[in-house]
Symmetry: C2
Subunit: 259 residues, 2 copies
DNA sequence: TAGTGGTCTAGACCACTTA
DNA sequence: AAGTGGTCTAGACCACTAG
């Protein structure tokens, strides 16, 4: 069965050329052309792709253009190159799969999404929060609890501890959805240089049932975050709890259908 | 506070040059140089980076080399470019965060990891499995249950439904860890063209407590997969259940410390 | 009109692999 | 020695944006 396919498919050979008048750049056309050939089975995982010079003369484009196309295939994990040997089609790797929080972004961009501030307080840091934020136990920090709703329905519960800077008053707008939305799409003022994120599976606790209007023991995601300023000091530590039935992450490995 | 920093930092100016004798390619040196300048606060989110021609003359490298460096910054989501306007530093976006299954890969590459086949059967497809695998209800398919252990400790429970091809006997080796390991690092024979993955939060069911030696109701991840062959037909559908206390995904957004 | 990024050329030299 | 990928040059032309 496998052999039969391997023998049959190459007969449906495509002899496409690069269209120099297309709006689509030559290097992109080449990327898609090679992807299609892989998808059709003309090149199988492990097979060697034509060398750069072969592709140059075959499609009448310069080495740099071929190079660029191949680099794209390589960082899409579709091919690997090794100097002196050649470029080879990779087989699909689960290890290369990545789940994007972009799916979460949609929640935040939704116009029906609102943020309800449940609580804002200045509190003394305890041992744990002090350690996370790099301040001494007992120092004043800001504690915020938010509830994110889509329409009437709560789906995210957010707790956050922030460095308290007496010189910088807590601005109302920072507490609203805008600050969270900015974090997701990058339009915020962004005092942050970097953030560490962490996703765990968890279950809804009794406290969370109240605000999320759901049942104790149901599955949930816990997305923890620490954000650092440009001096590498932590300024925000907190986490989102999201009902498991409201969120899932999806992705694809292997050849995508982008043509 | 913010203004003060902005005024103070640029005085610590770095005047590094590209070292043409370095093992590190010029374009990579430029990438890291710009990253460092961003990390130091010389360029803040929203700021415009020097134009390509400025970078060319500043560092005495050709336009293509500058271009390459900038493209890297762009697809690392550190900068955005728009034609006619310039290249700008982005603020960090949660939406660009990605969680990699590479962390899972470590489990599979571990030498202590073993696979115990709990069950292999030819079964008739029911309505649901038939739909997933694209066969009629009642047609014969393969059903496999595996348990993955690290040392003595079970951490993954895997159920899989496979297309049954009478012409291709079930090879013993395919049932062992090798086939799963190959899926993760790409060394397998890989009949698959692509796979769709899906992660949900869930809780351990009664059946799963038996094999995973844990308690009902504890949090867990459920990683579902469908793999397609080169003709785009589904050939495998299944899912992994992993104890929530054994697995977490981590990632970083913003400027990485790669220099 | 001047400046920006986006693409592309037609080579060159190097490092590595294989025979 | 021949073939491969990896890097880089010194320009060119284009499309877009802004004053």
């Amino acid at each position: 069965m496998k052999m039969e396919k391997k023998r049959r498919l190459p007969t449906t050979e495509v002899l496409m050329e690069i269209d120099r008048n297309s709006y689509e750049p030559a290097y992109m056309q080449l990327v898609n052309l090679i992807k299609q050939q892989i998808a059709m089975g003309m090149f199988r995982p492990g097979d060697q792709l034509p060398s750069e010079s072969q592709l140059c003369s075959r499609y009448h484009i310069s080495p740099m253009t071929v190079r660029r196309a191949i680099n794209i295939l390589i960082d899409q994990k579709i091919a690997t190159a090794s100097q002196g040997k050649g470029t080879f089609v990779t087989s699909i790797k689960l290890g290369s799969a990545a789940f994007h929080l972009k799916e979460l972004q949609d929640f935040f961009m939704d116009k029906n999404t609102t943020v309800k501030i449940l609580e804002v307080r200045i509190v003394p840091a305890n041992k744990r929060t002090g350690k996370k934020l790099g301040v001494k136990s007992g120092e004043a920090i800001i504690y915020i609890r938010r509830l994110l709703l889509q329409g009437e329905e709560p789906f995210f519960y957010h707790k956050e501890y922030l460095i308290y800077d007496p010189a910088r008053p807590i601005v109302e707008s920072e507490l609203e959805v805008t600050s969270l939305r900015g974090l997701f799409n990058g339009t915020g003022s962004s005092e942050f240089k970097k953030g560490d994120l962490n996703i765990e599976a968890t279950v809804i606790t009794r406290e969370e049932t109240q605000v999320l209007k759901t049942q104790e023991g149901l599955p949930a995601f816990r997305i923890e975050h620490i954000f650092y300023d440009f001096a590498e000091n932590p300024v925000s530590w907190g986490w989102f709890i999201c009902r498991g039935d409201k969120l899932r992450f999806t992705t694809t490995v292997g050849i995508q259908e982008t043509f």
